[in-house]
Symmetry: C2
Subunit: 174 residues, 2 copies
């Protein structure tokens, strides 16, 4: 299906506008997080103004024409695009570069900013480039936002046998 569309952002005004849009959503997310708002606002969640390359990834338009493998699950094009992005991520890492996938934005507003048609959909803002270091644990763990749970909690046999979300990892709204 090749549903991926990559828009490379080289215009600095556009970069700043994308940053403003993300920062607005960052504040809205903080608000939605309630008691963890302040803690959330202290996290580094994007590198839009600093990264070497800024790339917006969108799902293609004309999505409804593709039936193969998505008649019952039309969102499988997001799965395809995500696999492609994961390949970019790993390829970047193999070249000594870091990447961040920012999903803090209103997709309709980002679409308007980049003339993305109404039946397409932006799903990622990728910040790509040199980074000071590669920590050996996810940064949200290092920042004590969350605790990684072991794979054993996510694998069961022949039926759904999973523990409830562990405290501290799931956020319970007020």
């Amino acid at each position: 299906m090749q549903p991926w569309r990559f828009i490379r952002i080289t215009d600095q005004t556009l970069r700043r506008r994308i940053h403003a849009l993300v920062d607005e959503e960052r504040l809205r997310t903080a608000d939605a997080l309630g008691e963890r708002a302040r803690e959330f606002l202290a996290l580094k969640v994007e590198g839009i103004l600093d990264c070497a390359e800024l790339i917006v990834v969108a799902l293609s338009n004309g999505r409804e024409r593709y039936v193969f493998g998505r008649r019952t699950m039309p969102h499988m094009d997001l799965a395809s695009v995500s696999c492609a992005i994961q390949n970019v991520w790993l390829a970047a890492r193999a070249e000594g570069l870091g990447m961040g996938w920012v999903s803090l934005f209103d997709p309709a507003r980002l679409a308007r900013l980049l003339t993305i048609p109404a039946d397409a959909e932006p799903v990622a803002i990728l910040c790509l480039g040199p980074v000071p270091d590669f920590p050996d644990r996810p940064s949200l763990e290092l920042d004590q936002w969350t605790v990684g749970r072991p794979l054993a909690e996510f694998v069961s046999e022949n039926e759904w046998l999973f523990p409830e979300s562990a405290p501290g990892t799931a956020y319970q709204p007020k």
Copy 2:
């Protein structure tokens, strides 16, 4: 968020039931494809009865509790799961194993078969194991189902500038 839930299928009766469910959707998809139905039915689209390991991947339940990075785009958990699956795919390949991601199924019926709760969602049936060979082109190209388009058609700068879907790759319904 770690939204991935892996269910390893070791029960042979269950494996056959999953196969039956996929085969039913295969026929429905053929029907939806209209004039390419016969051609579609000749394709190998799954290896459920033959593969060494059969794994169903689902999105977690309690999804609405996670706000970070998905307040405006709740489907970002599918993106996370897809990245995890792509890692499995590449790790398998590095071990000399093949994998296929089957998405030809009715998610509600697969959920019932595996006691997956209503607020979780199966998104993949993975067929994993030894394969006779690793072709150097996608099998849907080798089978002349579709033609891969070059990356240049999927990259633009600062705005949406993409050609319409090329003939032969997009399916135009009747």
